[in-house]
Symmetry: D2
Subunit: 138 residues, 4 copies
Amino acid sequence: MTAAPARSAERMMQRDNASEALGMTVLASEAGHSVVTMTVREDMLNGHAIAHGGLVFALADTAFAIACNDSDLVTVSAGAEITFLRPAGLGQLLTATAVLRSRSGRSGIYDVQVADADGEIVAEFRGHSRRTNTPVPA
Amino acid sequence: MTAAPARSAERMMQRDNASEALGMTVLASEAGHSVVTMTVREDMLNGHAIAHGGLVFALADTAFAIACNDSDLVTVSAGAEITFLRPAGLGQLLTATAVLRSRSGRSGIYDVQVADADGEIVAEFRGHSRRTNTPVPA
Amino acid sequence: MTAAPARSAERMMQRDNASEALGMTVLASEAGHSVVTMTVREDMLNGHAIAHGGLVFALADTAFAIACNDSDLVTVSAGAEITFLRPAGLGQLLTATAVLRSRSGRSGIYDVQVADADGEIVAEFRGHSRRTNTPVPA
Amino acid sequence: MTAAPARSAERMMQRDNASEALGMTVLASEAGHSVVTMTVREDMLNGHAIAHGGLVFALADTAFAIACNDSDLVTVSAGAEITFLRPAGLGQLLTATAVLRSRSGRSGIYDVQVADADGEIVAEFRGHSRRTNTPVPA
């Protein structure tokens, strides 16, 4: 009996230094759906003493990358929009949940919600994916 | 003879742990205009071995924050859109240039272009600022 | 016995010349949810012989306005993003469905999906609302 | 002596029923740059008695289409973001100015500013174009 081969998103995440350096944990990794967490550390605070918007974006972007890399071809982010609804302070556990919204040919739209430990929404992110012709390395 | 008091954006940057941890350097800091650089490190690569989109976003977001914090009241990001045009690899020096585009009351729109060392555009970012009633701490 | 007073969104729609001129029909009008239809007419085609993106946007924007005008204070659109997934040709019946996604203070985010008669998605729209202090006229 | 052949954007505009029905006038039509005007008519007002956001978007979108259709292959809008800065009332002459911002392969980013007759900015629009393989008809 052999284990199922790792999904391309999982192979991709094993090489993702940035998400690892930011302390992200992948709780769910499926085609079209993912959940990723990150705790706001001291070195993630901006000059207003709240989580830097770029790092909140990074969390959502990782969740998006996991949800959209559902084939053996590399899928990249063409862009994204983010709205910041509530600041997140030091020590907050943030959870990003990504869901596929629409697909059309090589393009996809994914919505990612970032919430804090109380379930309050910190940010809403919409990512635009584009599947390339490059195979995901083994 | 006394030096001019630090602009609120400069006071803000002195406390910005995240931008410091990401190795950002501020080359220009004026109301409505800023230039910030960052070199893509090993711990900034994603699973496709290019700079993680969140960290490219973080660079643009810091440039945006410097350009829009031009009063003694804290100005925050309400959101942003980013388009990724070209991947940036390990060791690339990225330069983000932020420029005020439009203002209306408490709201502002800033455009940030992120280019690599060859002047090729890596990303285009548009940030939406909102001035709060909170004073910037001394 | 008296009828329930018209919701502010309904009073607003009675004065909406533009939506009427574009032949829109409101099928559902509730706080946080609306459905509006429009048929693509000859005078709505652009130079590529498909529905002009502005008019697809207008349909989504009207659905958004109905869903977000849920108080006696005027709520306006601060902006929106739209992604065009599929062209719509002459005679197509388009249906826009708006749903509240998130709220925070005076700000709201609404998602609007525009589909054709076959249920294929023509466009995805995300609107950002802002409640003003102006009362909706009777 | 023969006149220069019409640019593909001009051939496209000759067939654009929607822009004509909305009374748009093209003042400049070049690759990467265009200027289009529209006067806010009674049938363009929304329920708050200001220009319907969809029609302000339509004006910007037409300016964008003219600026980006600079080859003999049809270039379409993949999507756009718009920020509404100031309402426009009945009779206002609106001017949309489109400028190419960045290109990368088949993709382009164009910024369109919509101003009123006093030069006040009504809306900022950013359009994302994509060149197809379909030739523009003669």
